[in-house]
Subunit: 344 residues, 4 copies
């Protein structure tokens, strides 16, 4: 770490910082500048040491040098991690994965029709919410366990692996029994009890970036699961909250290449939540592919204007099929391909 | 709701919107404008109707008219709700409450010394974290159940009511057995399973605003607990995330009078998290009192530079006592007073 | 517009709103709802009327229906505007334009070498700052008029059209005499005196989005120039300010398709400022092409680590040439091509 | 500065950084850590050096240690600067200044009536816009020079010093001839040509914080004027742009004590623009006083619902008078007083 002293910090204050650093077993290195004193350190430092020093008199700022995430870091694990969602590989040199389906599972007909349609258009997995986080207590909250059964039926028929959200530690076992991949939603990115719970079971986890999470916080949440033993973590950018009002969120396209640089984990993009407008899903989805995403998460519904949730950001079957052919073209332009049929 | 059509929307598109609105049993009212057609409605509309219409061809925008929160709304319940945290009343014409204590409970000595000090300075309740949400899996995560016992001991000795955080539905019973008030942290503001769980038990709940939550989302999260039957909900502004880097968060002081206008629930301010710098806690705490807060939540630690968490935003006993006398002066200037001794 | 009354607004308050709307010559239409009264209007309304009504007693909210921009709107002018920067057409079905060059013109050698290199790699115009806006008064502020002459020399040699920034109305004439296109930087997006000045001369104007400008404000700034008579306006997304710290700005890729939908003006992308990191320029630039941008603005420098400004976001000649071949591939995947040689 | 190398940076890369630092005449100090190498420096460093090093291979990050503002810094000038606006002192131990008046000067009657009313209620100066920045080219843009004459007449009658905005360098002379203090609006905070122009004349300048300006950028803009020779600079917090939609801006109350700590310049608060809602002006204005502001800027209008601009955030005469008595009470609670009568 680097401790920057205030201009005019007294020698006594400087000495106290040096002494406090030494208490943590770290070697301080004074670095006098033209305007103020700074103190560097040799060797490993801890967050606790940084916080302790930060509140001492005369200290202007403490700058951490080590990154706080380890197992998620590409510096620690340079090779790409490939995660398998059912039979579908994600990350590294794998073909792009396209995980598509409705926001909420509403009925047997709806989920089966959607599964067939997205499979026909080339999707590699099926998404659908059985347990739905909704900002209002008065809106539809999902079919729950019945929804999981419908997902399993759709998988049996189409061979598509299934991805579905889990909201609370108490549901992890039930969801993990059925799903090929557990999704942690944006609102739960820092629900640490839930991260611990999914980190302690073996099914892959798709972690969505929180609405106002920094990249570092996002990677630290991944670190929670990695530290608990589950190395099958997939990251998903889904838009962040800004002042702009035309879109529901601002899709942070630069997060994709940045994450690919900082971490070895697979990185997906969700242009449906990332924009909140169905007519932006295709161009923003293609932009994500061009920027290096390992795959897409797309909301598709048989009849978006009758959807019980998120209709305004869902694609029709027709629009989804049109998008898939463009995805293949852009993927090819950047040296990737889209996942082919999943089973023989 | 008001449905705004695109300029140049066809009559067929307009007719389809009118027909879709009627399917929901609502009466549409066409409102031709100079540039485009809008369609208003008579009578009650639902979110489902709004979402259904939003994705129809030719629709530019759907503007909701009803507020989505009911039980939290001052329009529905005009009188101030007064919540009792142990013996301490919060809200309405009550004296200002000051809930003070360390970020984390670290040891018996630490929490007892702090309880005594904040009581002597005039605090009305004790806060302290037994279960700690931490963004890194490698930092101190609290003493857990042992911490709850230390809080109970501090209450027995000082008479201070205790407020402590609960992180997951599975811990609600244990925490509610000991605490006088359960805190839901900012990261869990939209952890709906947790909101349901605390909404189904009777102890008061202190709900912190999420880092990037709008006021409307904040009130909707309160609505979750109110809808489950717990009417003892306290709101707490604790800073929102912006681009500014000097402070940890941007304390949204205008949220205090705005919330007092929109809801009948008590509204507290947490200038410790709201700023993240101990030297800003006093001026920002006083600003909250001037703006109409019903009380303050303040981090206090016997030795901030040795704290295991949040040391840089904690006040020393001395600084806390100095703040308390200023709080009394500002409260008096705006026609309020600070809570007196809690027991005879 | 739609005037939403507060729940419990009195009949007297409603009557006053109705009367005030009528004062503006607009017809009010009462729309009683289940919870509250709303008042729609027939016919054209003005911003003044909306503001007048907003402060009346009992009014909760006024929702405008007309968009505030006219000449910039695709609803008013449906056909794509094609703007010519020197010989280079931008917008509509034109080939993608790539405007490349250094942040600042530093010397004759630097700008000439860069012009040759970007021309060889396929750029369609040269950018370079003669007048530089710098956040600190102590950093390099550009060569001024001497820089303009160097740009003219580079154009004479390479045939590349030149784009350069103007900072203040007093410099407009001098810059317009030399440049093929005047750039208005992000910090000046709402410098209305400057918008008026460039709007009153005929050279094309490249307007950058302000750091925290909404799409609507961006289009209103374009409207200033259009209203003054200059119809040759090009828009450029260059990243917005958010809480994320790894990148200098958050490149708002969804703004590209959104702008193409809302306006007929050409839309460029600047991934250099949009990310602030040279290693993100290529992936984010490609993402912009995939999302439908009409061209790119790229910072290129002979020796980025010796640049007097923005070195950390500039590409080397080699990296720029590598990007250009990828741009062509992605453009082709979305049915576009990149501008060919400019002169015979 | 501190140069942080990437984990696994090669010795060649480290040597290149060391050599490049030495080229700038600065002494590098290698600081090997547990995970990666960092390189500190002895002595004065420049921004140019930092930027040069940042783009070298193997460099992860460059952390500046010196603050980029000098003349604005309290570390350089520890004593409070007191600025006189006409006869009114601002800053240091001065009484609080309250600068009140309409957003725009609309007519002789309007400005004179307002001047009398705010004087009677205890205001210490009059504000009013003659040149108005408006986001739409179609809204009222002020009376221009005629407005300046009306301000002069109001001053002659009431003795109130006058503060008015200047938009462009060409108007600086005209405005400075009449006004006691020139205001630079939020949209022009980084209009450097304008900052230079007002920095070269002697009248005090009231600089508003840009909508998305960091505190550091705000102080750098002040530095522009200070560096040009004008030491009479007053800072004004007026709200920043966030995701919250209920308010027009988010008033950053913590900026007040933070600025008082970082700089010696006077710091005002504008709760009218800071909130955009007249009913929030009083509580947020009081919060600013409690947090240590040196004064307030308040929009007052004889008839807010007939104002040509900003009516929804303007106080009536009655509400302004009510606010003034509360301001006096809160000021007294924090050991300040409000400016008394200006002339004998």
């Amino acid at each position: 770490m680097l401790v920057v002293m205030k201009r005019g910090a007294s020698q006594t204050e400087i000495d106290a910082v040096v002494a406090r650093i030494e208490e943590f077993g770290i070697t301080p290195v004074p670095l006098p500048g033209a305007e103020r004193m700074a103190i560097g350190t040799f060797g490993s430092t801890s967050r606790a040491a940084a916080e302790a020093v930060e509140s001492l008199p005369g200290v202007a700022e403490v700058v951490p040098v080590s990154r706080p995430f380890k197992l998620a870091s590409r510096e620690v694990i340079p090779e790409d991690t490939v995660v398998h969602v059912g039979p579908v590989p994600l990350g590294g040199a794998s073909a792009l994965a396209v995980i598509a389906g409705p926001c909420s599972i509403e009925s047997r007909d709806q989920i089966l029709a959607t599964a067939r349609a997205v499979r026909a258009a080339g999707a590699t997995a099926l998404r659908g919410g059985a347990f739905k986080p909704r900002s209002s207590p008065y809106t539809f909250r999902g079919l729950g366990v019945d929804g999981l059964e419908l997902l399993a039926e759709a998988r049996a028929e189409t061979g598509l692996a299934i991805v579905t959200e889990v909201l609370t530690p108490g549901d992890v076992d039930a969801v993990a029994r059925t799903a090929d991949c557990l999704q942690i939603g944006a609102r739960n990115m820092q629900n640490y009890a839930l991260l611990d719970a999914v980190g302690e079971q073996p099914k892959p986890v798709l972690l969505k970036r929180g609405m106002s999470a920094t990249i570092e916080e996002f990677l630290l949440s991944a670190e929670y699961m990695l530290a608990r033993g589950n190395r099958n973590v997939i990251l998903c950018e889904r838009g962040i909250r800004t002042f702009e009002k035309y879109t529901r969120n601002t899709f942070d396209v630069s997060a994709l290449p940045l994450l690919k640089r900082l971490t070895h984990l697979p990185v997906l993009a969700d242009p449906s939540h990332g924009t909140g407008k169905w007519y932006l899903v295709a161009p923003v989805g293609l932009s994500a592919v061009a920027a290096g995403a390992d795959g897409l998460l797309i909301e598709v519904h048989p009849s978006p204007d009758h959807a019980l949730s998120d209709g305004f950001q869902s694609l029709t079957f027709e629009n989804f099929a049109a998008l898939m052919s463009k995805v293949a073209a852009v993927a090819s332009a950047v040296g990737r391909c889209v996942g082919g049929p999943i089973r023989a």
